[in-house]
Symmetry: C2
Subunit: 192 residues, 2 copies
DNA sequence: GGGCCATGTCATCAGTTGGTGACTTCTAGG
DNA sequence: CCTAGAAGTCACCAACTGATGACATGGCCC
């Protein structure tokens, strides 16, 4: 938001780049790749749309850049192993979707249908999600267990994207959270 | 495919309507709402693009019509209750994605990011997926268990949409299938 | 202070999209 | 056979998209 030590905001390439990146991240997460226009991103960032092409080469490259900067799975892998399930389930089922932790999932799910975004998503999610997760899990069947975890996490996010929250009340959401946590922990600890 | 008792194919409104619907269903499932143009649908169906607006009112209404006609969850609910998990897991993890059973999921996941399609998806999936599933499950926590099943089913589909199959070999896919089946059956039978 | 390059602004392009209305053509009913 | 209306064809529009190149301007170094 606030550039480190630059005068104000005009004529500052680094700040402009950051502003574009920030605006794009939010737009891509909330609307998806196709539904987001470069003019909207530029407007949010308070810059001219032409600068997007100038700084990033184009919308597609900007999307790739956003993926690289988005917060990834690492946060959940750093914490206590036994609480992995509840921490992730909390994010998936009860925490508001506006949370930044959600953004990578939202970007992926909302943009996966666009061919231009799909390739970047595949590449990035493998490097920033699957690979770390597999390593963290360890064992022979790490790949399968990573996939299982991914299924539950993506599915839960997808459900919230589609239905928001208006099909479950807070009591049910709590039950959902606990069940998700058990399933996740089961995939983490047990043999599949 | 073959109209019941009409001459050939030209000048047959019912057959034309069906052809458009069929072509649209496949396009929406494979490309998603946004990526599919009315010209492509019309071309696949072998008709003029203007007929889509004439017959259905527009692309949006056509999409709603497609959702209504797409095969839904009922097939899996009819079969043996004990084999629900394996049957669904088979579809999710091992059967080729070209299968018609997949189409409703694909349409939903690939089109959910489009605002125009989203509303139709919400309405239809509630009526044709959640409602039947909840009734079939029964019990106090049917809503939560339906959501859990939905998470796993959508997540598994989403993973295949994003990564196709090239991250897992057939052996791993089989393990994945068995684990998914256990999880699904757990949600069906047990208390969450 | 002056030149120069980085930075930002603007008008505009070419392509694509969904949609519409006038036109043609075929077929059914009298 | 001949007309009326359904079915299909065609040209075209208006809106929007991402992108580009010419132009203006500000700030930094000499």
């Amino acid at each position: 938001m606030s550039p480190p030590m630059t005068p104000a905001r005009t004529r500052n390439a680094a700040a402009t780049r950051t502003a574009i990146l920030e605006a794009a991240r939010k737009r891509f997460a909330h609307e998806g790749y196709d539904q987001t226009g470069v003019r909207e991103i530029a407007s949010d960032a308070g810059v001219d749309a032409a600068l997007i092409s100038r700084y990033f080469g184009g919308k597609e490259e900007l999307f790739g850049e956003v993926l690289s900067c988005a917060p990834n799975i690492a946060e959940f892998l750093d914490g206590d192993r036994d609480s992995f399930g509840v921490r992730v389930a909390q994010m998936l089922a009860v925490e508001p979707m506006r949370e930044e932790k959600f953004e990578l999932f939202l970007i992926m799910l909302r943009s996966a249908s666009s061919p231009k975004a799909a390739e970047a998503i595949r590449r990035h999610s493998h490097d920033a999600f699957y690979q770390p997760l597999e390593t963290w899990l360890g064992g022979d069947d790490a790949a399968v267990r990573a996939r299982l975890l991914s299924c539950v996490m993506m599915g839960a996010t997808m459900n919230r994207v589609i239905y928001e929250d208006y099909l479950l009340d807070s009591q049910q959401r709590q039950e959902l959270c606990e069940a998700l946590a058990r399933t996740l922990d089961n995939y983490v600890s047990g043999p599949v």
